[in-house]
Amino acid sequence: MSLSYKPVIWNKTKLIYDAVMLAGIFIYILIFLRLGPVISSALRDTDLPIQRMRAFGSLALLMLTIVLAIGPLARIDARFVPLLYNRRHFGVMTAITAATHAYYVLGWYFSFSPTPQLTALFTSNTSFTSIAGFPFELFGVFALVILAILAVTSHDFWLSFLTPPVWKAIHMSVYFAYAAVILHVALGALIDRRDLALAFLSLGGLATLCVLHLIAGRRETSADAAASKKAPEAPWVIVGDVSEIAEGRAIIGMAQGGERIAVFRSKGGLSAVSNICSHQNGPIGEGKVVIGFITCPWHGYQYRPEDGCSPPPFRERIRKYRLRLEGSSILVDPEPLPLGTKVEPLAILAELSPAAAAPKNGGTV
């Protein structure tokens, strides 16, 4: 969270994340350039600039595949959530790596012509009517432009300026960039030479990403379809039982066709808030209460349980919901309250409290 523009708010976790990422990039390039020619005769017979462009090109593809796998992996298994924390730096480094690949391509294939490099890039292959001969460079340029736009707008300033829904919609164009990269690689390197490693990286990566995203999407769709049961009196819905929530954790419910609602248990009280973090739409209900604040698992944005507002001087807010208890059942009114509405946590009756020590399912439904 920040009040004013800062290029990057560094902390120890981000530094470690970036250090590991940069070390990985360095090691990959080193291995590709030093060990690659020893292992592969095809690589040994090429010039160093070509080896460099292949090293950075394949690395950009690998990084894009990894960065696109982090989201669904975190949805499928919570142990991958820490990778989400600094995913934007990963994305920016992917764009820089792809740009480095493009730089070497322009410097090698298009430098010795009297035509300007970019003009030569767009005019050297005009086989638009051919399938296998289609100018694959265009797909690479398209992907690079998208990656560059996403890298430039990745900062929280743009997230705040554009609003999270618009920002998220723009950043979903990375999927089209990925599709373009696959076509770029297939029409270019895979047709040009039999490169098993690159085929495995591109086609295997495509298959893996499709499976991961479709599994994660299926889970989300199933969760959406299994809406909370309606209580006898409208508009209340039953989101679960008090005993299902561990101290400091939440259960998630929703009305049919509505957005998800997280009900947190903390210090003998229950609070219902929107499950959507105002920062990047992260799943707040999968977070926990830290020093009295509801904390998003993605980037640590915090909100007060009583009014859904971030503690001063921060200004982020999420919606609150009315809730009540019937016996040990938790009922929520799915109609959100206006932003900033203060609703004191609903006290849990003393006879229901001992169950807190033994939640039935670890705190989520």
Binding site: A169, A179, L183, I191, L214, G257, N281
Partner: protein, 54 residues
């Protein structure tokens, strides 16, 4: 994540999982192949190297 974003993700990835493999099959199937009676043209390093420059 908002409900409509979840739906958009599912639609996009279903599209990618269906369209891209089909496109790849079409691309690789349309790569020109040499006819069976094509002459044995040598394009390997030995044949194309030519005289070395002084």
């Amino acid at each position: 994540m908002q409900r409509r974003h979840r739906r958009a993700h599912t639609v996009i990835w279903t599209g990618i999982a269906v369209v891209i493999p089909i496109m790849l099959i079409v691309i690789f199937a349309s790569v020109p192949k040499l006819p069976a009676d094509a002459p044995a043209v040598r394009l390997d390093a030995t044949a194309t190297q030519g005289d070395k420059q002084p």
